[in-house]
Assembly symmetry: C2
DNA sequence: CAGTGGTCTAGACCACTGA
DNA sequence: CAGTGGTCTAGACCACTGA
């Protein structure tokens, strides 16, 4: 399924541990507390709609009618010629409005058949995986790192398969901890394909993070992600300064450029300090 | 920041518990194993590019040159008239190519100034939050639910604030566990604004899940998400049949239609059974 | 001022679907 | 076959920027 939308996201950093609510409470109270969202600043500029372009008017009209249920999911919507007549605009204009709605997932179009209201609910919503350093800095906090390892290694069979390399080939391996105002937020274990970034190990990660450096040498063109909750390894717990029983949010990322794998990373975040947040609106 | 892309996602359901690797191993081995992605079927149809439309050719050309670093982030790219001359197409055609690249976040355009290569790395990538039932069913598994609670309640102060209602107003409250082939995958605790779905409690959740039902009565038009790793409550652990020390992936979702809050949900997934997966390519 | 992007028009040809 | 969407053209007017 395709989902295209304007999508603004922010990362929430929780310093204080989440309160341990008494679990003996009635379920109602327990859940009420656990389900309250963090307060948001919500600047919400709401730009002036001043002069709206014709294609935007058509699009806004269709969006509004869709939201009121005028065209239930799966039903036929007006054709391009009908909208041309209704709005007295050229076909290119309504075409653009409809194409954008299709791109955003609100309608389905089939050549030779027509335009249909989409089954919105079937579409999953998106959440961004933010760049930690960028978010820390842009929120006015101080970002720092500790480099615990930066070396060459011969890769294992499993790793070799991921990188499409022969077992035993040299790869770069770093282990870096990221801090937000001195608090450990992420333990990043990363392997890098030397062919893509020969100078990787020579980089001063206190000046430029692995993620940022890799961007400069190889634009990101494909990525695979996985987000899960699990316990940290003993080493990770020690590096993060948390108990080995602390649930962690773990992000695995693998990026490639034109089928050449660039890097494989495991980013471990203490569950009580880090959370992925997303706000989604059409 | 705006991020628009074609984005395909799948949910991975892990039945067997993740293997507990020996943590006494060298860090290299430990991480290699923990960082391997699950094998994917990757059907990857790779549609034939057969006859590519002119606007698509221009777009593909610009994408390719961008990926090779011809225009470093922030640098000036060819203007519309230049591309018109180069490709011998009309301005509308190159305009569409550039507009789509802008929508997808690859270029930045400023009226009166020009088109610039975007700072790709600053853009965060997206991940979808899939609809559990839909994913279970579409993967050929059997989806079932257990309804543990479905009642009216007077809402607490915190909940009332979330719903923009007065404290003590009646709201609907359900507690449902979702199973994939009999294995508990999600414990969903949900509050619903009665004004939006008066018949919510009369629904047979064995036939139609809360999410699906709410879609039918109120199209989703705005949502707020939060994903975190934490321990389940004692009740959740019992309902899911896991230890209270099991790290869980917890999704909070709040949806609203035109500023009217519809529902607030807390979805708790055992970390060793559920994972969010995303594959991202331009 | 020249150059840029933002948008629109009126017409066109095409591929596709379903009666 | 008539109706649909997919796309393109050649020209146009405009707002905006920076010299």
């Amino acid at each position: 399924m395709t989902w295209r939308m304007r999508f603004s996201v922010s990362i929430l950093v929780v310093y204080t541990c989440l309160v341990n609510y008494k679990e003996e409470q009635t379920s109602t109270d327990t859940y009420n507390l656990k389900m309250v969202f963090p307060k948001q600043s919500t600047p919400s500029p709401r730009r002036d709609t001043a002069a709206q372009a014709p294609f935007a008017k058509v699009k806004a009209y269709l969006m509004k009618e869709l939201s009121t249920g005028r065209w239930p999911p799966g039903s036929v919507m007006p054709s391009e010629p009908e909208l041309v007549a209704q709005f007295q605009v050229s076909r290119m204009t309504v075409s653009r409005a409809l194409r954008e709605l299709q791109t955003e997932g609100f309608v389905t179009r089939v050549q030779g058949v027509g335009t249909f209201a989409a089954h919105l609910g079937l579409v999953s919503s998106t959440l961004t995986l933010p760049d930690l350093q960028h978010e820390i800095v842009s929120s006015g906090h101080r970002h720092s790192v500790q480099v615990h390892m930066a070396q060459e290694e011969r890769c294992s069979a499993a790793l070799a398969a991921e990188f499409h390399l022969a077992e035993g080939t040299l790869v770069f391996h770093t282990l870096v901890v990221h801090f937000d105002n001195g608090i450990a937020m992420q333990c990043e274990d990363r392997f890098v394909n030397p062919a893509c970034a020969p100078d990787y190990l020579a980089t001063d990660f206190n000046q430029i993070t692995p993620t940022v450096y890799l961007r400069t040498v190889a634009p990101l063109w494909e990525a695979q992600y996985s987000v899960e909750a699990a316990l940290p390894t003993a080493q990770e717990a020690a590096l993060l300064g948390v108990s080995a029983a602390t649930p962690c949010l773990i992000v695995l990322r693998k990026t490639a450029n034109a089928d050449v794998p660039i890097t494989l990373a495991r980013q471990v975040h203490p569950g009580d300090r880090y959370r992925l947040n997303g706000h989604f609106k059409p």
